[in-house]
Symmetry: C2
Subunit: 207 residues, 2 copies
Amino acid sequence: MNHKGLLIIVSGPSGAGKGTICKELIQRDESIVVSVSATTRAPRNAEVDGKSYHFITKQMFESMIENGGFLEYAEVYDNYYGTPKDFVIEKITNGENVLLEIDIQGALQVKQKYPEGIFVFVLPPSMETLKNRIVGRGSETPESLEKRMSSAYQEIEQIKNYDYFIVNDTVEQSTDVLQAIITAEKCRVNADIKDIVVKFKEEKENA
Amino acid sequence: MNHKGLLIIVSGPSGAGKGTICKELIQRDESIVVSVSATTRAPRNAEVDGKSYHFITKQMFESMIENGGFLEYAEVYDNYYGTPKDFVIEKITNGENVLLEIDIQGALQVKQKYPEGIFVFVLPPSMETLKNRIVGRGSETPESLEKRMSSAYQEIEQIKNYDYFIVNDTVEQSTDVLQAIITAEKCRVNADIKDIVVKFKEEKENA
């Protein structure tokens, strides 16, 4: 097995079901480390600092931006959201596998900074299904629904920058596929393979 | 899912267990098509033409070599052995997944002709285990054992030309990993992905 952990980026249009798949994955595989975002917005009712988000000040956030402390970040309605880099890199270096659920803009930023990540694009079975799922949430106005659908069409074009795609028919199947991707990627021949060849060589010399 | 089938090449040193893993895979997944080698040697007792091997004449074999009809071939003790190209390409084009169990020399030839193949290297847990497995077969003289072990050490260097490696502790685990690799590769973003993007676009235009 490879020594270094994997960074698994699960991304896709809003409503494709990436969040549900990630939740199911974490339940099935407790060894997966979840990356927690930092934000400058105030905590809501049940949110726990360090679990839901790392709640930090705007000053702190901006100083981290300046020091290249984020794998990606964005400003949304006057609040910052971002993925702290050090946490992810430390876990990966320790051989742990880190899961990052993120929108497409964020994923493309992560790709710039960490191209060795495993980029997985979650697709809805059809745009009709996507629409029904977003409508089902009950939180959209006709205008915001229209806007979400129109960005979804644009976002799907970005699939070309990803390594894998999952057509999300059912959570169970999609999570099976995500687990298969992780299993396969652990067995990829990469730079670490040299250590394995050396191990066999040493066995020869000590024989 | 991708339209084109996969060519899965399972390879490794003699005694690593590639044959047992492939047998288990075929039992678990009936959709996998097994590539049958052609040979010029005479059939043995229970061997069935077209199943064990395609038994063909030396003249026929040499004419196929001249016409580029093999993905790989070798001459062993005055007999030819090879993988007919047309069969494999036809199945892949039909979207079927083809399994090719082959030694390392053969796999490297296939890589030249079909680099899009999925190249999987089966490793023994240790060289000690490999030795015990070869000895257990009871068919080796001390000299031929020595020779096999020495080529195994050389062959392991070739792992760098493969996509994946499987450390074969148990057949069950190794076959699980091989199945995960196939599942993951079916979801790889490749040239076929354009069709998926087009499908979603058409849905938009027809909406």
